[in-house]
């Protein structure tokens, strides 16, 4: 994954910093609560939501079970339809392929549809090194690019910014990238959207190379599917002479018919709409365009080999789990140090990148296991299950290991627990209510300690024969 986040501290440290930004917390709270309510309304509207969810899960599992076969099918169908298919094992190889394809066109500018996977591989940075400028065209991505910022949400990368911050960014930076923002720009969202329209219009009409990802690729037909709202996607997919789509291998669906499930699951889970404004579907070289499909692994086959962790590959990047997550709501996406933030990021990033860095090792713990993410996931990824699974594989600190092993030893035999309880009871007067030493301080920073009782339950039971004496 992208090196942008290398060397970041662990999640708790990032989170602590983010929590101090009250503007950020306000923006996130407002946005996540808005989208949560919208999603709930349109999901309740469908009486067969649970059946769609079960089908969505099964279709993705079937895709993964026979991914080799479906990839070959895609390759054949796309090639037959006049497209070119490329295979990339990792980020570097994908970047090389795309850079080479852009170079071959003689162009030095490309327009981009919002795509998670090209962020994952750091494509813009790789293109820049070769003197190619990539222009992000999704409004939120534009805000992130102009503000030299990081995305903090899968669907709405600039969710951490409010309207007045966006206005500032437009006024300050639009001129560096093209047409400047109007001097009298206000902070009304409509005005801001208009400014983005004007800023990008000429670019859309003149740029010769478009780069996209895809939401789905249909194996049997070779059809690519991109869902979007603004029309920037349509601009990038239709107008350029060359289109390059970089797609993670897990984005496949076996059959055309499968779209009847996913075109219901995704928009309702994602933007909380019955349907997103625009969905484009094309097969191979369309309307005279030169079309390239880059199929990317970049760690996905490693995830596929993990029997519990592989369910993360069902993800369709709707971001419903982010929007309901109480942790994400309070700290935002940057704390996760990955283009994939929130609950799905907490299970995807450590699997794609490994858990060598302190940040990646801390991600499986960035959850209270409250289960809200699993409830809303349209493909039923049991995120808490995968978190717990990854925790068992994560490196543990020596002090923690000692503590948990000791607790395990005590709990292993009732007699040991009984002795420990009696010891605690004897010294109950010495337990401070407001300031515990050592790791306990993390508790008493904000919470009092409950008083240790005079007698444990088991001692009471023994003494009174279950209260009958």
């Amino acid at each position: 994954m992208s090196g942008t986040f290398l060397g970041m501290p662990s999640f708790p440290k990032n989170a602590e910093k983010a929590l101090q930004d009250s503007q950020l917390r306000y923006n996130l709270r407002k946005a996540t609560h808005t989208i949560r309510a919208k999603r709930a309304t349109v999901v309740e509207e469908l009486p067969d939501w649970l059946e769609l969810r079960a089908a969505g899960k099964a279709i993705k599992d079937e895709t993964l079970r026979h991914l080799d076969r479906y990839l070959l099918q895609v390759e054949e169908a796309v090639t037959k339809a006049g497209g070119h298919v490329h295979w990339a094992s990792d980020a570097d190889e994908a970047n090389e392929i795309v850079t080479g394809l852009v170079r071959a066109t003689g162009q030095t500018e490309v327009v981009k549809v919002k795509s998670m996977v090209t962020q994952e591989i750091g494509l813009n940075e790789a293109l820049a090194k070769e003197g190619i400028t990539a222009y992000e065209t999704d409004l939120a991505e534009l805000i992130v690019q102009l503000g030299d910022d990081w995305p903090s949400h899968i669907l709405v990368p600039a969710i951490h910014r409010n309207r007045s911050e966006i206005r500032e960014i437009f006024l300050e930076h639009m001129a560096e990238w093209g047409r400047p923002a109007p001097d009298d720009l206000g902070d009304d969202p409509r005005m801001l959207a208009d400014a983005a329209r004007l800023h990008l219009r000429e670019r859309f009409l003149s740029t010769k190379v478009g780069i996209s990802g895809a939401n789905f690729v249909i194996a049997e037909t070779g059809t690519l599917v991109v869902l979007e709202s603004e029309g920037n996607g349509r601009m990038c997919l239709t107008l350029p002479e060359t289109l390059i789509s970089v797609v993670g291998i897990e984005k496949l669906l076996p059959t055309w018919r499968d779209l009847e499930v996913f075109l219901q699951l995704l928009p309702r889970s994602s933007t909380g709409e019955r349907m997103n404004p625009y969905t484009s579907m094309w097969t191979g070289a369309t309307e005279g365009q030169d079309f390239h499909l880059v199929l990317l692994d970049n760690g996905r086959t490693k995830v596929l080999a993990d029997e519990i962790g592989r369910q993360a590959l069902r993800c369709i990047r709707c971001s419903a789990c982010l929007n309901v997550c109480p942790v994400y709501e309070r700290v935002g996406g940057h704390a996760y140090g990955s283009v994939y933030p929130g609950p799905i990021g907490a299970i995807l990033t450590p699997q794609l990148r490994g858990m060598e860095s302190p940040l990646d090792a801390s991600l499986p713990y960035a959850s209270s296991l409250c289960g809200a993410c699993y409830d809303v996931c349209p493909v039923a990824i049991d995120i808490p299950e995968v978190l717990v699974h990854l925790r068992s594989k994560a490196p543990h600190g020596p002090a923690e290991r000692l503590g948990l092993k000791a607790a395990g030893w005590v709990l292993d035999k009732p007699v040991r627990l009984e002795r420990a309880q009696r010891l605690a009871t004897r010294f109950r007067g010495l337990v401070p209510k407001r300031r515990l030493p050592g790791p306990g301080a993390a508790w008493t920073d904000t919470r009092d300690v409950p008083p240790v009782p005079e007698e444990s339950f088991r001692d009471w039971w023994d003494r009174t024969e279950g209260g009958s004496r």
Partner: protein, 258 residues
């Protein structure tokens, strides 16, 4: 019917009053309950913190101790959910290497898996046992106070106890139940999350406490003392004057006893 109480290690050690309340309540409803002395802990903390082997050892112990009962009553949503939701997953993980690879993780044929299949369906959260097994929503309790109820994540989304606890509370004489805004949101406890990510945990609890105080309730009730220890510790630190009580303790209260 042989009914066993799994009091849980946290209640046993820190909140014996909850265990006593369960015994009082069930006895009042004509149900004798046993306390198998071999019990300690369900293994939740270990499994959820990433110490699977220790957790599995405790799970084995639990299954052995509670085998042969008709019902096991647990006054803790998260411990009941650990047994019912996570034990089958642990079993699947230990079963044939490729079991449950794509379908939901269930199956396996080890002795552990067999014990899981035998014991876990008989494990009930207190409110489930009262409503589903004993078939009552009026336990004859009296508690003349304004109360708000926090459903706790594992009861709500794990066990899916639904409105059982609030139906029980609504039938308590004198009790005024006031709805808690944002009730379904996590309080931020999350076991070791409360110390490993203390700042986020505290921020989540601050919002929970704000909602609790806004209800004007005297008492915050829940069916899990771990969450209550966390929320109660914050309520106490902030000197809000709001008390916390386990559902069992409110349901055990009667007029005679006052």
């Amino acid at each position: 019917m042989r009914v066993a109480l799994f009091v849980t290690c946290v209640n046993d050690t820190l909140f014996p009053g909850t265990g006593k309340a369960v015994v009082t309540l069930l006895r009042r409803l004509g149900c004798e309950v046993e306390f198998p002395a071999g019990q300690t802990c369900c293994g939740q903390m270990h499994v959820n913190t990433g110490y699977r082997d220790e957790g599995v050892r405790l799970a084995r112990q639990f299954l052995e101790v509670f085998s042969g009962y008709d019902a096991v009553v647990v006054p803790s949503g998260s411990c009941a959910a650990m047994v019912r939701e996570q034990y089958p997953k642990l079993a699947a993980g230990m079963g044939a290497t490729r079991a449950g690879a794509f379908a939901s993780a269930h199956g396996g044929h080890s002795p552990f898996a067999e014990a899981v299949a035998e014991v876990t369906p008989k494990v009930y959260d207190l409110s489930e046992f009262l409503v589903d097994v004993l078939g009552t929503t009026d336990v004859g309790a009296y508690f003349p106070h304004r109360v708000t109820y926090h459903p706790t994540c594992h009861s709500l989304r794990g066990l899916r106890v639904g409105d059982r606890p609030t139906r029980l509370l609504q039938n308590v004489r004198g009790l005024e139940l006031t709805p808690l805004p944002g009730a379904d949101e996590c309080c931020g406890f999350g076991g070791t999350f409360a110390v490993k990510n203390a700042a986020v945990s505290a921020a989540m609890c601050a919002d929970k406490v704000g909602n609790i105080v806004a209800t004007g309730a005297e008492v915050l009730c829940a069916a899990d003392n771990s969450c209550l220890m966390h929320i109660g510790g914050t309520l106490s630190r902030l000197r809000t004057g709001v008390r916390v009580m386990h559902l069992a303790e409110i349901l055990a209260s009667t007029e005679a006893e006052r």
